[in-house]
Amino acid sequence: MNVFGSGPGIERRVNVANNDVDVIVAPRGSSRPPGIISWFRSVAIAIRSLLTGMRVTAGYLFGRDKVVTQQYPENRETLEMNERFRGRLKLTHDDNGYMNCNGCKFCEIACPNQSIIIKDRRNPVNDKSELDQFIWRLDTCTFCNACIQVCPHDALEWGQDFEGAVYDRRLLVYTLNSYAGPQARLIERAIKKDEQPEELKATIEPRSRYGTGVPLAGDELPGVPALGGEDKEST
């Protein structure tokens, strides 16, 4: 048995690959000299080492009030995530509820695993390309932040919601936009310059989370019946 005790290391300077490197060498202790007295001494050291460790754990059992456990489902009301926390992807909206996205597909190109699918359409009033459906697949998303990084309109952000457990994988495919139509900037400009703002607003069509023809979500699959109407979230 070694006479142990970890203690500080021994500082030294060695030459490695033509560099002088300051090293610190692990302590080894010394081996026990023969004899019955040293054997008893080593037993005493061993018992003392166990008691030292016990003192640490006993300190937490009694005395020190250091609860680190968070009672998670119970503290839902007060739970606050960090502002940069990567929860569920969201489209940003302006104060009037119009989205900032214009369906430019930068995020779709930047996405490493095709978790974002953008369907666009052409607006009959101003003849501009605009967002029809922003499909986000949570089931394949790796939360790498690439889409938010490339977005030129700051139209995407992370939500704080992290509870994504559902019973059917198809429920993890979302339509993120609440309507199909022009982005907030274009509506604002139309109102400002009086370029048919009412006609532009009339082209807006509502979109729901699992509603209109999102692949895998809600649609019938071979051998799997359709999920039915809207808001079938089984959480």
Partner: protein
């Protein structure tokens, strides 16, 4: 130098001359791929003579995801997020290897602020990785308390990541040309508090586990890996330094701002499990020391120098770039054809793959019970072995 190539068939054939004077028979058992002490899906075929290990044959491929092949279909910027998932406890250093490889190949100069941020995060990640290892080693050797304590203290460091980056484990933060976000306003304050906390807890670790007689008896002179073997097998990181070779890329080929900080390389003298244990605990102290020197001097500057939506095309050629993760040297070979914005070929030299083969050298002739201590002291992350 030549060495005979042995196939799996050769290795599982019983040897003709058993060492034991008794008429014993060699037999095989499988440890894993679902064994709790292999920390993942690693399968070890053990050739045993009684309880003595004659040979350890690792069998790989249970978590192979083809990350190198997937990289050929992705742009450089997209490939970064896959490297989080090879060695998930060194995600930021893995990101950095790709980022630095692309920066060197395209001739992009980064500024001091980016390099400071990268170095600080890499060191914080090294501390949290070693804390997790410390807890798991305690649990492998039969003590459950260190596991809880290690995870508890690691939380304070992952909170730093969550505040600035938004993620705790697979972060995708360091990118070609910079870092994804600037530092959070609370970063310096929170980091200082977390370092002070970690320092006090390291003292607790010493009391709880380092001096403990059971740990000492189970690690001293167990699983000895000689310096010659370690170098020949390509072992890097703490296992190599524990064998007495003070080879640390942060000292020998400094990257980031490691050449501006003062720290010591922890080395061992024998190469047993105790040296590997002590080297990692000391590395935690040295990493805290490194971050303390940098945290007050972060210069101002931009944090992203390349436009995120711009294509990165690397000139034709083969590029190699390596860094020291918490487990050893991670190298990346990048082959570019010079025309597309995707790599022609990517190969990763992962530290755990080479460290794994040292298991046979250090366990041979030892007891079956010591194998768990050996596996644990190597600190293997299995997804990094298979990639």
């Amino acid at each position: 130098m030549t060495a005979p190539i042995r196939t799996l068939d050769d290795r599982i054939r019983p040897s003709d001359t058993p060492d034991s004077p008794l008429d014993t028979q060699e037999y095989f058992i499988n440890m894993g791929p679902q064994h709790p002490a292999t920390h993942g899906v690693l399968r070890l075929m053990l050739k045993l003579d009684g309880e003595t290990i004659r040979e350890v044959i690792p069998v790989l491929g249970y978590i192979h995801r083809g990350i190198e092949k997937m990289g050929e279909a992705m742009t450089y910027r997209q490939f970064v997020h896959l490297t989080d998932r090879i060695d998930y406890l060194s995600a930021l250093v893995n990101n950095w290897v790709v980022a630095r490889g692309v920066e060197v190949a395209t001739g992009t100069e980064t500024n001091d602020r980016i390099e400071y941020i990268r170095t600080i995060f890499a060191e914080i990640e090294r501390i949290q990785s070693h804390m997790l290892w410390w807890g798991v080693l305690g649990m492998d050797l039969g003590a459950f308390t260190p596991f809880l304590y290690g995870f508890r203290d690691r939380e304070t460091l992952t909170d730093i990541f969550e505040e600035t980056i938004g993620c705790r484990l697979t972060m995708n933060y360091i990118q070609p040309g910079g870092v994804m976000h600037d530092l959070h306003p609370n970063f310096v304050k929170r980091t200082k508090a977390a370092l002070a906390y970690s320092k006090s807890k390291l003292h607790e670790y010493e009391e709880l586990l380092s001096g403990n007689v059971i740990l000492q008896e189970r690690t001293r002179d167990v699983g000895i890996l000689s310096a010659e073997d370690a170098v020949a097998l390509g072992v890097t990181g703490p296992p190599l330094r524990a064998s007495g070779v003070a080879y640390d890329l942060r000292k020998v080929e400094p990257y980031g701002v490691y050449d501006r900080v003062d720290f010591r390389t922890a080395v061992g003298s024998v190469g047993d499990c105790w040296d590997r244990y002590w080297v990692r605990v000391e590395e935690m102290r040295q990493s805290i020391h490194i971050v303390e020197q940098l945290i007050d001097n972060i210069p101002e500057g931009k944090t992203m120098l390349m436009k995120p939506a711009k294509k990165i095309v690397i000139p034709e050629g083969v590029y190699y770039n390596q860094m020291e993760t918490a487990r050893g040297i991670l190298g990346m070979v990048l082959v570019s054809d010079g025309t597309s914005d995707k790599p022609y070929r990517i190969h990763l030299r992962s530290p755990n793959f080479n460290n794994l083969w040292a298991l046979d050298a250090m366990s041979r002739g030892g007891r079956l019970g010591d194998l768990v201590a050996n596996v644990s002291s190597l600190d293997l992350v299995v997804p990094d072995i298979d990639r």
